[in-house]
């Protein structure tokens, strides 16, 4: 159902008049003279991207682990223990099963997000020590996990718990924001469904608002860890 639009005609007419063109004038097809974003990190191999991402993690207070698809269950088990286990929530994502992580989820009695449970899901996330997600794209330059959230891959999971652990399939690592934005733009152009909440998260929440002193951990997670899994 369409929403409403109020006061638009007069508002836009005034702008068109000020800009000295007729209302509804359509700009020429976009053609930019300057596109520096397209030429950075162009020849990087997948391994180079992993290295760049690991380096970027150093400056955003984020621990990064690397494993193979065979060893992922053992490695995740270890990370969960390292971060104090306790109550854990995970997004509802078929990739947990594909990576063979069902046993780990069961071992730690991890609550798999179920929107049909209603508001209680948010309470579970708020009480949890760890939130577990799998990213949809990873930006190597800034070590940003792109999460295309929906009713199953819920945004609360990477927001409310004190620790956020994000699994990063190596095949999803791209050089920078440019490639991720192109992915989204392609969906827009094709009229495909768009996640209502696309979140690029680079490490734990932080603030330097008091005397410019960096405080890590404000409203979102206090600790963030990435687990890269080679799936190529």
């Amino acid at each position: 159902m369409n929403g409403t639009i109020e006061n638009r005609d007069a508002f836009l007419k005034k702008i068109a008049e000020k800009l000295h063109h007729t209302p509804k004038e359509v700009p020429e097809k976009l053609h930019w003279l300057h596109t520096p974003q397209e030429s950075v990190y162009q020849d990087y191999s997948s391994d180079q991207l992993v290295d760049m991402m690991k380096k970027a993690c150093e400056s955003i207070h984020t621990k990064v682990y690397q494993t193979t698809s065979k060893a992922i269950a053992r490695q995740l088990d270890q990370i969960i223990t390292d971060y104090g286990a306790g109550k854990i929530v995970a997004t509802k994502d078929p990739r947990f099963t594909e990576f063979g992580l069902t046993e780990v989820l069961e071992k730690y009695k991890i609550y798999s997000w179920d929107y049909t449970d209603g508001h209680v899901t948010i309470e579970k996330a708020a009480e949890a020590n760890i939130g577990l997600s799998i990213c949809d794209v990873m930006l190597a330059e800034s070590a940003s996990a792109g999460l295309f959230t929906d009713k199953n891959k819920a945004r609360s999971v990477s927001l409310l718990p004190e620790t956020s652990i994000v699994i990063v399939p190596q095949s999803l690592i791209v050089p920078r924001l440019t490639q991720a934005m192109q992915m989204v733009e392609d969906r827009v152009q094709k009229g495909q469904n768009l996640s209502s909440y696309i979140n690029f998260i680079s490490g734990p929440s932080n603030s330097a608002d008091i005397e410019m002193r960096l405080v890590v951990g404000v409203h979102g997670p206090i600790k963030v860890a990435y687990l890269i899994v080679s799936d190529l």
């Binding site: 159902m1 369409n2 929403g3 409403t4 639009i5 109020e6 006061n7 638009r8 508002f11 836009l12 005034k14 702008i15 000020k18 509804k24 004038e25 700009p27 930019w32 003279l33 300057h34 520096p36 974003q37 950075v40 990190y41 955003i60 929107y115 508001h119 948010i122 996330a125 330059e141 800034s142 929906d150 819920a154 945004r155 609360s156 927001l159 924001l177 934005m181 192109q182 989204v184 733009e185 827009v188 996640s195 209502s196 909440y197 696309i198 979140n199 690029f200 680079s202 929440s205 932080n206 330097a208 608002d209 008091i210 005397e211 410019m212 405080v215 951990g217 404000v218 409203h219 979102g220």
Partner: protein, 486 residues
């Protein structure tokens, strides 16, 4: 006046500010830190390629978007509403406030949480909603501190930069805080206090770093996670945007977000870059069910089609503020506008008029550091000069004495006799004021000058006499067959 900070005249504010040594130190140290980080993340980041190319790209994108603003705003509103969101175009701050009040009333909302937004400061939204009986909570740490302490922002990226940790602790005591002045403990208190408020809130209000026209999306660029809380738990989301804050597609969003993060705080990306597209009919439990977008003009259109249009290219990174030598000495509050620094001195007169903000363009040494720092190449110092010209041409109401003095100078300078007499009289007239070869305290229009520095004593010689004398000497030498004097 919604944009206005304090009630004192500009020069009084400046006098007060330059004597506030804590503030001046805090501001200079913040400027140094932010400027250094910006340089490392821009010209200093070799992997990024030529930073000038990035700036040119930003300039090109912003200029194109503003030149076709009506087209892109139509596209944005069509796409936002096609996904079920509601769009309201507000020509004035009052219209924006009234619409938001109406939505809040319809929802019977009492608890409102807000993410940092300069445009909501500009339209005095908090006051309007509080009058309606709502609890309105700022959740950005700096804005939260200012709200608790009933203070106003002094920087557009770090709004509480003028406050020290003891002042923050004292402010938090009003909420029952008993801890130390350690920033970590103070931030922990804000986390604990606000966590339950996020989960209880009926309405979440945010600003908008950029909207994307071709999908009807809103992009928020933040670090603390509060904006994510504000846009996740309340049932209703209201986004307020300045009408110029949009880009055509996600490809341009990439460039402007990159420019913003690097130029404002020197991060490759801020911790959260969040893109929200309305989806009201979804079954998700942790997302709004009702989306509103309020697009605000409030004086911005005054710049459209004029030489000031490029001021609307601003992406609010504050890079110009962080290099400004005047801001360094007077801080943000002295400007008397929520938009301080070079961009504030350009923007405030456009939005609020010369009557109120006509003096701000004088808060500049015209060193052009701002222009050089701007990631979208706004010619800030040139715009400051144009403002000054328009102000004295009558765009504002310059002080009557200044007007009389300028008029007098104009009459005197256009008559050769009066000019000559004036030049000859100056040393004689000013003689009583001279001490040891300079004038330390001047009267009337000379006062502001001599307040900061001595005025040199006017010379008894003048150019015309010197030139005449030189001409005669040259003629005499030539007559005597001597070489030309140097």
């Amino acid at each position: 006046m919604p944009m206005k900070v304090g009630n004192q005249p500009f020069f009084e504010g400046v006098d007060k500010a330059i004597h506030d040594s804590f503030m001046v130190n805090a501001v200079s140290s913040a400027q140094d830190g932010l400027r250094g980080r910006k340089l490392s993340a821009t010209v200093g980041d070799e992997a990024l390629g030529d930073w000038e190319e990035w700036r040119s790209s930003g300039e090109e994108i912003r200029a194109h978007t503003l030149n076709h603003l009506d087209y892109y705003l139509k596209q944005l509103s069509d796409n936002f509403s096609a996904r079920g969101g509601h769009v309201f175009f507000a020509e004035t701050a009052e219209q924006a406030r009234e619409y938001i009040k109406k939505v809040v009333k319809e929802k019977n909302a009492k608890h409102i949480v807000k993410a940092k937004s300069m445009v909501t400061e500009e339209i005095s939204l908090n006051e309007a909603l509080t009058e309606e009986g709502c609890e309105v909570l700022e959740t950005d740490l700096a804005e939260f501190i200012l709200q608790v302490d009933q203070d106003r922002p002094s920087h557009i990226v770090v709004p509480s930069v003028h406050k020290n940790r003891q002042q923050v602790r004292d402010a938090f005591k009003k909420l029952g805080y008993e801890g130390s002045d350690d920033p970590k403990e103070l931030a922990g208190f804000a986390r604990k206090t606000l966590r339950k408020k996020f989960l209880q809130a009926d309405v979440g209000i945010t600003g908008c770093n950029f909207a994307v026209a071709d999908s009807g999306s809103i992009c928020l660029v933040t670090n603390e996670g509060n904006a994510n809380m504000v846009t996740t738990f309340p049932e209703t989301q209201i986004t307020v945007m300045g009408m110029e804050r949009l880009v055509p597609t996600w490809k341009e969003l990439d460039v402007v977000v990159s420019l913003l993060c690097r130029s404002s705080v020197g991060q490759r990306l801020t911790t959260y870059v969040t893109d929200i597209t309305p989806e009201p009919d979804q079954e998700a439990v942790d997302s709004p069910k009702d989306y509103h977008l309020v697009i605000v003009d409030a004086g911005r259109s005054n710049a459209l089609g004029t030489e000031f249009q490029s001021a609307l290219h601003c992406i609010r990174c504050a890079a110009c503020i962080n290099v400004c030598p005047v801001y360094r000495h007077i801080g943000g509050h002295a400007y008397g506008s929520i938009y301080p620094g070079p961009i504030g001195a350009v923007l405030s007169p456009i939005l609020g008029g010369y009557e109120e903000y006509g003096k701000l363009p004088y808060a500049s040494s015209l060193c052009a550091a701002c222009t050089e720092a701007c990631p979208v190449k706004i010619p800030l110092h040139k715009l400051l000069i144009r403002h000054r010209e328009k102000y004295v041409e009558g765009g504002g109401h310059p002080p009557i004495m200044e007007k009389i003095a300028m008029k007098g100078f104009s009459i005197g300078a256009s008559s050769p006799f009066m000019f000559k007499t004036g030049v000859k009289m100056a040393p004689i007239m000013l003689k009583p004021l001279v001490h040891d070869g300079s004038i330390p305290k001047g009267p009337g229009p000379m006062k502001p000058w001599t307040h900061g520095r001595d005025l040199p004593e006017p010379s008894h010689d003048n150019f015309r006499d010197w030139f005449k004398k030189r001409h005669q000497e040259k003629k005499t030498s030539q007559d005597k067959g001597m070489s030309e004097p140097l």
